[in-house]
Symmetry: D2
C-alpha cells in the first residue's frame, strides 16, 4: 500500500442548490451550450480547455477509434446485451472490458516509446536503440505494422496530415517519424505506421498524458458499442453469432457413449 497524502480530495466537481460547478466553471452558465462534448471531455479530464485545433484533432482521434465492425469487443457486447436486455449498460460494460492490453495496449506502448524518444531529443541513436531492444526480444514495436493496411494505414496518413494542417504536430509526431525511419532501416523495407501509433503521437501532441491515452479509446469505444447495441435491438444478430461460434469450436473432449 503506497503512502497517501494525509487529506484526500477531489478537484473535479462540486455543487450548490443553484448550480453544478465543474473544474470551477458553472455547468449551466459556462459549459452547457458553450462547449462541445469533446471540449468538455478534455476540460473535465485534463482541467484545461482545449484550443480549436486541439479540439479538431481530439475529435479526429475519437472518430477514428469509435468503430471497427464486429470486433471481439462488439461481439461480447451484443452477446451480453441479448442475454440481459433490461441492462443496456451491461452490454457496453462487457464490450469495454475487451479494451485491454491486446487492442489498446499498443497505443499506450507507442505513447511511452514516443515520450522516451522526445525526452532523448528525438535522436536517431535512441530510435535505433528502441528498435534493437524490440528485435532482441522479437517483440513488434508498438504502433507499427498492420496485417491488411500496407504499405500505409490510411487512418494514420489522415490523422498526421490533419495534425500538420492544424499546427498540432509537435515533438511526438516528429518522434514518430524518427522512429518510423529506424523501424524501416532495421526491417530493410517500409513498415506501416498503424492507427495506434498515429493516435498516440497526435493525442500526446494535444497534451494528453500517456497514462490516460487508454481513456480516450474507452470513451470512443463506449459510443461505438452503443451503436452496435442499438442495431442488436432492432435486428438481433446474437443467435447467428452464437450458432456460428458454437459450430466453429467443436467438442473434442472424452468420447460420449453412443455418439
Amino acid at each position: 500500500m503506497s503512502a497517501l497524502p494525509e487529506h484526500q480530495t477531489t478537484a473535479i466537481c462540486t455543487s450548490t442548490p443553484d448550480d453544478v460547478f465543474i473544474r470551477g466553471k458553472s455547468l449551466c452558465q459556462e459549459l452547457i451550450g458553450h462547449l462541445s462534448f469533446t471540449e468538455m471531455i478534455v476540460f473535465q479530464v485534463l482541467a484545461k480547455r482545449p484550443t480549436p485545433a486541439q479540439t479538431r484533432l481530439v475529435d479526429a482521434c475519437l472518430v477514428t477509434l469509435m468503430e471497427h465492425g464486429l470486433t471481439p469487443s462488439a461481439l461480447a457486447a451484443r452477446l451480453v446485451y441479448s442475454s440481459a436486455t433490461e441492462a443496456l449498460q451491461s452490454g457496453v460494460a462487457a464490450g469495454l472490458l475487451a479494451v485491454g492490453s491486446r487492442f489498446v495496449g499498443t497505443t499506450e506502448g507507442a505513447g511511452h516509446l514516443l515520450a522516451r524518444l522526445v525526452a532523448a531529443g528525438a535522436s536517431e541513436t535512441e530510435a535505433d536503440a528502441i528498435v534493437a531492444e524490440h528485435r532482441a526480444t522479437r517483440t513488434p514495436v508498438p504502433g507499427f505494422g498492420h496485417p491488411q493496411h500496407k504499405p500505409d494505414d490510411p487512418r494514420s496518413l489522415r490523422l498526421l496530415e490533419l495534425a500538420r494542417e492544424e499546427g498540432i504536430a509537435g515533438p511526438h509526431c516528429a518522434a514518430l517519424e524518427v522512429l518510423a525511419r529506424a523501424v524501416d532501416r532495421a526491417a530493410q523495407k517500409h513498415i506501416t505506421i498503424n492507427a495506434t501509433g498515429a493516435i498516440a503521437a497526435v493525442l500526446a501532441d494535444c497534451g494528453v498524458p500517456i497514462e490516460i491515452l487508454r481513456g480516450f479509446a474507452i470513451i470512443a469505444r463506449a459510443a461505438g458499442l452503443v451503436g452496435h447495441l442499438h442495431e442488436e435491438l432492432q435486428r438481433p444478430a446474437m443467435r447467428a453469432i452464437w450458432e456460428a461460434a458454437d459450430a466453429a469450436v467443436p467438442y473434442d473432449g472424452p468420447p460420449i457413449e453412443g455418439r
Copy 2:
C-alpha cells in the same frame, strides 16, 4: 429514494487482530476445515448453517447450473479474456453480465409463481389461474418447456428425485407438480419441466429466498466461466469465434464504391 433506517449496519463480517468472524463464527477455528464451500455459501448468504440434506441439494443445483457449453455467457467471457489476458476477472465479469433476464430470469419467474402457489395452498384453481394468465398474454410459464429435452428434462427428473430421497422436497416441489399438471391440462399434452423450474423449487425448499435465487446461478456460472477461461488460455478459441461470427453476420449497409 426510499426511506432508510437511521443506522445502516452489516451483520456479515468483522475481524480482530487474531481472527476474522463471519456471522459470529471464527473463520480460523470454526469455519476453515469444518464447512465445505457450499455450506459456507449458505451460511454466509443466509446466516444459517444448512443441514446435510440441504447441502446435498444445494450442491446438486450448483453442479447443474455450472456448465452448459459455449453459451453467449461463455463466448463473451472468452472474447473479453483474449483481449485482456492481464485481467482474468474481466472475462468472468463479462460472462456473468450475461446471466440476466433471458437465461436466469426464468428461475426467478418460476420461483415467484411457486411461492404464490404455496401461499394459495397449492390449489389447482390457483394453478389454473396462473396458466390462464400466461396464455392470455401468450407468455410461456417460466420453468416449463425446452426446445430439445422432451418429453422430460433429465436434469429436472434427477434433481426432483434427489430432493425426495433426501427429504428436502416440500411445499415448493409439491407446487411445481400441481403447476405442471395445470400446464399439461391447458396444453392438452405433456410439457417439459425444465431445469430452471426444478432448481427454483428445490432451492426454495432448501430455504433460499426467491429474491436471491439468481445469486446461486451467478456463483455456479462464475465457476463454470473460470473453466472456460482456463481452456481459452491453454488453447485459444477466440480467433475461431471471431472469424465465424464475423462471417455469419455479413454487412448489408449502404454500398461501398468499388465493392
Copy 3:
C-alpha cells in the same frame, strides 16, 4: 426465443484494405476531420448526420450528463480501478454498471411518457391521466422533482432555452410543458422539471429514439468516469473512501467473544 430473420446482418461498418467504411462513408476521406465526435456518435448510432442545431443540443445533453461528482458510479469506478490499476477499462465498466434503473431509468421513463403524450396530441386530458396513474400508485412522475434544485433545476431551464433558441424544441418539449402543468395542477404547487425530464424531451426532439436514450447517458458517463480515474491515478482517494465507508456501516451481527 423470439423468431429471427433468416439472415442476420449488420449495416454499420465494413472495410477494404484501403479504408474503413461506416454507414457507407469513407472513414479516412469523409469522416475523420469532417465530423466532430458528437456528429459521429449520432451518425454511427442513428445512421443519419445531425444538423448543426441537433449537434449543438446533443452536445449540450452530453455535457450535462457527463459529471455529477462523487456519485455511486464514480465511487465504484475508483474502488475498482484502485484494486486493478492494470485495467483502466475495468474501472470505467464498473462505474457504467451503476448507470441503471435508479439514476438513468427516469430518463427512459420520462421519454416514454412524452412519446405517449405526443401520440395523444399533447392533450391536457392525457397529461392529467398520466399524472393520476402515478398518484394512484404513489410513484413519482419520471422527469419531475428534485431534492435540492427547487423551484427549478437550472440545467433543465438552460437545455430547454437552448432547444428553443436553436429551433429544436418540438413536440416532445411541448409535451413536457403540458405534462409539467398537469403535474403542478395535481400537486397544487410548482414541481421541478429535473434534468432527466429535459434531456429526454430535447434528445427525443433531436430524433433520438426513446429506447436508446440510455445509451447517450452511458457515453457521457464513460467520459466522466475517465476523468475520475485520471484523478484517482494522480491523487488516490480510494483509501479515504474505503475507510469512511467501513466506519459508516458498523458491524451489528452476532456478538464476538471478547469484543
Copy 4:
C-alpha cells in the same frame, strides 16, 4: 497475434437430447448428486476428479477467500447493485472487477515464486536469491507480511496445518517454509506468512496450476459478493457509504464564486 492451432476445439462440454456431458461424464447420471460443488469445480476446470483430501483443502481455501467484510470489492458491488437492482449480476461483476493485481495478484506472485523454488529443489540458495531480488527493488515478497496479523496470520497457520493433516502438504508447502526462513533471515525478524502465500502453496499442492490460481479467488469472491448483495437488498447501506465517501473526499478545486 500468436500462432493458433489450425483447428480450435473445446473439451469441456457437449450435449445430446437426453443429457449434458461434462469432461465426458453424464451430468445427470454421474455428476448431479455424486459430486459436491467443489469437486465439480475442480473436475470442470482441471479435468480431473479431486481426492477427498484435495477436496477438503480446496474447500478450506475457498472458505478462506470468500469473505473479508466491506472491502473495496464489496463496496463497489453494493454501490452498483443499489443503482441497478434489476441486475444482481452487475453488482457481482463490478465487485469481481476489483479482484485484480492489488488484492489477488499477490497470490499469483507467491505461486510463481514457489514454483520457481520447487523447480530449484527448494534450495536455500535460491530462496535467498529470491529475497535478495525483492530487497534490491524494495518490493515486498508476495505472500509475506500483514499490517494486522502479527506475528502470524491465523488463516495461514490453519490452512497449512490442515494440509499436513490431510497429507496434501507437498513441495509447494515445503518451498513456502524454505522461503519463509529466507525472508526471516534477511529481515532479521519473523515476518508473517499471509493468507495469500498459504493459499498459493496449498492450492498448488492440490494440483491447481499457478496461472489459474486467481480463478479460485474469483469463484470464492463471487459467492461472498452474493451475500453482500443479499444484505444490501434487505437493509441497504448504499446511502451511508455514499454520504460517508463524499464527506471523506472534499472538493478542493478552483474556488466557486460565493462559496
